[in-house]
């Protein structure tokens, strides 16, 4: 069965500093990986995805993620954090076929201090 791990419940970073939110995955075969962000009392918003191709994926709001097959990781990054980036971030892996549902990590709360 596929799974996703987000080892940090919370990440704290100062505004203007780079940020990294970690994600590791376990799947059989090639992974399809996603990052979503959730603001308080809101639904999940899509940030970016890796399907195939370049290991560095660029997404919305200046976020990017690096796919590393040997380390089975898909860490989310941003060069310069904003206070408005404070939210809950979810990494997910998608079923390759069939139902095409997402398996989510437990989420990482990002807190950006001014």
């Amino acid at each position: 069965a596929q799974s996703v791990a987000q080892p940090e419940d919370q990440v704290n970073v100062a505004e203007g500093n780079p940020l990294t939110v970690k994600c590791t995955y376990s799947v059989s075969g090639n992974p399809y990986l996603f990052w979503y962000v959730q603001y308080p009392n809101r639904g999940l918003q899509f940030l970016l995805k890796y399907i195939t191709g370049d290991n560095l994926v660029k997404g919305s709001y200046g976020f990017e993620a690096e796919f590393n097959k040997s380390q089975t990781s898909f860490h989310l990054k941003k060069p310069s954090a904003l206070v408005s980036d404070s939210a809950l971030y979810f990494c997910a892996v998608r079923d390759r076929e069939g139902r095409r549902a997402l398996t989510f990590g437990s989420g990482t709360r990002l807190q950006v201090q001014p």
Partner: protein, 119 residues
């Protein structure tokens, strides 16, 4: 473009009551999903549908039922509500057809959620 809409936003039920959570999407997506989000946890799949008339169970289907009579609508029915069903429920949809390879249209889009409390 409304995307995925859910009603109601909030609901409090008593143990044993029933209710239907509504979900509608206007993107002509074939795939639709229901997830629940418990505090401190990721989302877990309750039911999904790959097209009108076709539904199947996810990881946590007990206590729920779904139907998919149209492409747009995917209601979730709770029968005999229990405190363990207290959660936030999210509906999602994505494009693509069953059996087709993954494409750029396969991103899942989520509704705003329904916060349900069972007392």
């Amino acid at each position: 473009n409304a995307g995925v809409t859910q009603t109601p936003k909030f609901r409090i039920l008593k143990i044993g009551q029933s209710m239907t959570l509504q979900c509608t999407q206007d993107m002509n997506h074939n795939y639709m999903y229901w997830y629940r989000q418990d505090p401190g946890m990721g989302l877990k799949l309750i039911y999904y549908s790959v097209g009108a008339g076709i539904t199947d169970k996810g990881e946590v289907p007990n206590g729920y039922n779904v139907s998919r009579s149209t492409t747009e609508d995917f209601p979730l029915r709770l029968e005999l509500a229990a405190p363990s069903q207290t959660s936030v429920y999210f509906c999602a949809s994505s494009g693509g057809t069953s059996g087709s390879p993954i494409t750029s249209t396969d991103t899942q889009y989520f509704g705003p959620g329904t916060r349900l409390t069972v007392l």
